[in-house]
């Protein structure tokens, strides 16, 4: 393989890795607090993309459009927790997991009614042109996707590691009884985690829409990618989610560049299945803290 092709694979992998990392972080935030895998996470990405497109087409500038999309998606996240997960808080994790699947179909139905079947797109942010680098092409949107992911990663590390509110959120998942006797309102913390994860998902949706376009049904495939990224790296550690996301993105890009036909689509998940068989809790997971 010549250098430009290798570089192109690396750039595409970095772009995909950033997207999958950002997706996985949504799972990490909710799991860190509630130990629940929210299978509706991809729907917040879809909502973020669709809402941003809608507001932008109404003539609202891009940044306020994204902000509004994040706020509305955050409210949808709050609704998912308050009206679906919270009433079922005493039920098993499996029941709660299935409820998030139910939410997927509900939100897809509403999106279909509002936006129809069509794929929608946004122009690349601020008309950033494609960049040629040593024979490889970098799409104008790619730096935005990677940059937004970096900001999310740094922000989450700061929030969970350096703020008392972040520590209280982590305490809920670590020792719920201990957290409660310290006065931490576990239900409220869970609500915040859903709002945060939905907001993060919406940012991802807005960022990737110029690259991938968006439609009412795009959420589920993104959920699968996010779950893979989170579980391969280790859903209970942000470092694990980053590793899983980047590894998944790089493998997908490499497979697409080297394997003919549609076979590349099965290589990355195949390798990931092998990883999970060898380390069921993920590469960097902290033992005993993944249920």
């Amino acid at each position: 393989m010549d250098f430009p092709n290798a570089l192109q694979i690396f750039i595409s992998g970095a772009n995909l890795g950033a997207i999958y990392t950002a997706l996985g972080l949504g799972f990490f935030v909710i799991y860190s607090v509630t130990r629940l895998v929210n299978l509706a996470q991809g729907e917040f990405v879809m909502l973020g993309g669709m809402l941003t497109v809608s507001f932008y087409k109404m003539g609202i500038p891009l940044v306020p459009s994204i902000t509004l999309a994040v706020i509305i998606s955050g409210l949808a996240g709050a609704g998912l927790y308050r009206f679906i997960i919270y009433p079922a808080r005493g039920y098993s994790r499996l029941t709660q997991l299935l409820l998030t699947v139910g939410f997927v179909f509900a939100i897809q139905g509403v999106a279909l009614l509002i936006w129809g079947w069509d794929f929608r797109s946004l122009p690349a942010f601020f008309n950033t042109p494609c960049i040629q680098l040593w024979g490889a092409t970098i799409f104008g949107q790619t730096p935005w996707v990677i940059g937004a992911t970096l900001v999310m990663v740094i922000g989450l590390f700061f929030f969970f590691g350096r703020t008392i509110q972040g520590k209280a959120l982590r305490a809920c998942a670590n020792e719920p009884l201990g957290a409660r006797t310290m006065g931490v309102n576990i239900d409220r913390m869970a609500l915040y985690s859903f709002i945060m994860a939905a907001g993060l998902g919406a940012v991802v949706g807005a960022m990737i829409t110029p690259l991938t376009m968006t439609s009412y049904s795009m959420g589920w495939s993104l959920t699968i990618k996010g779950v893979l990224a989170a579980f391969v790296g280790g859903i209970n550690r942000a470092e694990g989610v980053i590793l899983g996301g980047v590894a998944l993105g790089m493998m997908e890009a490499a497979a697409a560049g080297m394997v003919p036909g549609g076979y590349h689509n099965v290589i990355a998940p195949g390798i990931l299945i092998v990883v999970l068989l060898l380390r069921p809790h993920g590469i960097l997971a902290i033992p005993g803290r993944v249920e």
Partner: protein, 272 residues
């Protein structure tokens, strides 16, 4: 002005303690798990600044009683009053903000955090900054973090573990982990400290150190409720003792009275 021992005597015997001197009042509390009656009509009062020791054999209902007071279990029958608040009417997470905190038998430290972070979570109720200001690192949130760090460090210093502040609790001895749990509980600023079998697994010198700390906290005005089965350790520090047996309160009094109580000797002390 009444002395502490006079207040205790009133609480224990004549029940004439003025309501403003009472911190906790447990009224006719019963609890069932299925067909098993774990507590049967238990009542007692704890004046402010007291150390109440609840003893009894395994299965006597001691830990259940603590969990009812801290709100980890919901009351089925009876009522618990804390500073004129009916605890049955208060959501569990708010009970801590009223001033009740608990140290669990198995401590339940947050293993993904350092020692100091554990204690900082105990200060959670004292934060003024909300989620947004914390996330955006606004000046108020930064000042809040610094204040909480200082407070957490002072509690660690109180239990003698400031040198271990940045260690992971998993690397500490069991006795040190208990002290971290105690520091975390103290960081809440509560008036009532519930200790569930705090001496279990401790070495003799660690038991002495814990006793000294408990007495120091009492001198600072804290009310402490200890559940334990090591009676010889407790008779030295408790100024009010309750004995439970099969969910029933069979005796209440000062340590001396309890040691002379024939029913207690027959049911519990004599059996050891």
């Amino acid at each position: 002005m009444k002395t502490d021992s006079a207040v205790v005597k009133d609480a224990v015997t004549s029940k004439k303690v003025a309501s403003d001197k009472l911190l906790l009042k447990v009224e006719d509390v019963s609890m069932r798990f299925g067909v098993l009656a774990v507590l049967k009509g238990v009542s007692f009062s704890v004046p402010k600044g007291n150390i109440l020791v609840i003893i009894g054999p395994n299965g006597a209902g001691k830990s259940t009683l603590l969990k009812l007071i801290s709100g980890l279990l919901s009351l089925q029958e009876g009522e618990i009053w804390f500073k004129q608040h009916r605890l049955s009417k208060i959501p569990p997470h708010r009970i801590s903000s009223l001033g009740i905190t608990q140290l669990f038998q198995d401590v339940q430290l947050f293993s993904s955090m350092s020692v100091i972070e554990n204690v900082m979570v105990g200060c959670h109720l004292r934060t003024r900054a909300g989620f947004l200001s914390a996330g955006l690192k606004l000046p108020q949130a930064q000042a809040d973090e610094q204040r909480i760090l200082k407070r957490a460090m002072s509690k660690l210093s109180l239990v003698g573990l400031e040198q271990k502040a940045w260690d992971n609790p998993a690397g500490l001895s069991w006795g040190q982990q208990k002290l971290v749990g105690l520091a975390r509980a103290l960081a809440t600023g509560s008036d009532l400290l519930l200790l569930d079998e705090p001496y279990s697994g401790l070495l003799a010198d660690e038991i002495d150190k814990l006793n000294q700390l408990i007495l120091q906290l009492q001198r600072q005005g804290m009310t402490i409720l200890i559940v334990e089965h090591l009676t010889d350790v407790l008779m030295g520090i408790g100024n009010q003792v309750i004995v439970l047996d099969y969910g029933e309160k069979i005796a209440e009094g000062t340590p001396d009275e309890i040691q002379r109580n024939k029913r207690v000797i027959d049911a519990y002390l004599g059996s050891g």
